[in-house]
């Protein structure tokens, strides 16, 4: 009769597994990053035939080194910036003080009045990053609200409930026109 090999005691297997578990528990980091996504403009050659934009089509937003805001030459505040930007970008045909509008036809939306307005953002080298992000965020909020309005008007749905084609049409009809000025040397 063959000699029986004694069974290996497996009671310590649990302990080993726990050790491994502890290691992975400690090293794991399941943080997900969120942020404001932007596209930088391609670099421009230094020549001075810059595009002439009509004054009524531009909303100038300046942030100085003390984090104070100036909108179109007047001191302003971050709490009113979103409404200002939204008012500015809302197409108002016939209003001489508002930006120009031009009708454009989209497959899903029909004829839509598009504003030719541009928001120009300029900051100082001394502006704090927190203030800059606040301003970017408020401007993004203005555009998102315009998109939401457009989505509701044409599809009776919230913007994030639209299907891909509808969302694309709304995105095309309400382009995020925030231009960052070339950094000036002071």
């Amino acid at each position: 009769m063959a000699k029986k090999v004694p069974e290996i005691n497996s009671s310590s297997q649990a302990d080993i597994a726990f050790l491994l578990l502890c290691f992975f528990l400690m090293t794991t980091s399941m943080d997900v990053d969120y942020g404001i996504t932007r596209r930088l403009p391609p670099p421009v050659e230094q020549n001075d035939d810059d595009v002439k934009v009509k004054e009524r089509n531009v909303m100038n937003v300046l942030i100085n080194k003390n984090n104070k805001l100036m909108v179109n030459g007047r001191p302003s505040d971050i709490s009113t910036l979103k409404e200002d930007a939204k008012n500015f970008m809302t197409p108002r045909p016939g209003d001489e003080t508002a930006p120009e509008v031009e009708p454009k036809t989209f497959d899903l939306l029909g004829e839509v009045m598009m504003s030719k307005g541009v928001i120009s953002l300029q900051n100082d080298r001394g502006t704090s990053y927190a203030m800059y992000i606040s301003v970017q965020n408020e401007l993004a909020r203005a555009f998102n609200e315009l998109k939401e309005d457009m989505a509701w008007k044409h599809f009776h749905k919230h913007f994030d409930q639209l299907n891909e084609d509808q969302a694309k049409a709304v995105n095309d009809a309400v382009p995020v026109r925030v231009s960052e000025a070339e950094p000036a040397e002071y």
Binding site: L21, D33, Y34, I36, P43, S79, G126, Y129, S134, N137
Partner: protein, 155 residues
């Protein structure tokens, strides 16, 4: 009916622990799959500002991060510095770094590469502008200002 009754005390049978390792292994596999080990040691503080209009950064493999903030080591002062990979860098180093990052991805993914700017809230925009200009020069146009969730008016 007495003959069915067992002799002696009635004992509660021990709970079998033989399935315990299996359960623990299941947990291990979960953590092994979800884990992403921190690839760099942060040398700068990155307390990021808050924002509401934010999107999730999809596909972590296609994101490379630049950290900007005051050094953790107080001996190095409080002026914001740039950190690429594991070391401090100057704005001139960014072009090379972007090329390296592109080189590390396969060809199809390269245009989708996003640069995440993880910037401390008290940083002056001068440094950030320099970094953005360098990124523009080298053609890394997709950027993301990484922020926390929260009202931007509290910044």
């Amino acid at each position: 009916m007495g003959k069915f009754r067992k002799e002696g005390k009635k004992e509660v049978p021990q709970v079998s622990t033989s399935s315990l390792p299996d359960i623990v292994y299941m947990l291990i596999f979960f953590f092994m799959i979800t884990t992403s080990m921190r690839d760099v040691e942060l040398k700068v503080k990155t307390a990021m500002p808050k924002a509401t209009e934010i999107q999730k950064l999809e596909k972590k493999a296609l994101v490379s991060s630049i950290y900007i903030g005051p050094p953790r080591d107080a001996k190095l002062g409080t002026e914001s510095r740039i950190q690429l990979n594991d070391q401090f860098a100057r704005p001139d180093d960014i072009a090379d770094w972007v090329l390296q990052e592109r080189e590390a991805r396969n060809e199809a993914d390269r245009p989708l590469l996003t640069t995440a700017l993880k910037v401390h809230r008290d940083t002056r925009m001068g440094v950030v502008t320099d970094v953005k200009q360098e990124l523009r020069k080298v053609g890394a146009f997709r950027i993301n200002y990484t922020t926390l969730k929260g009202s931007a008016l509290e910044n």
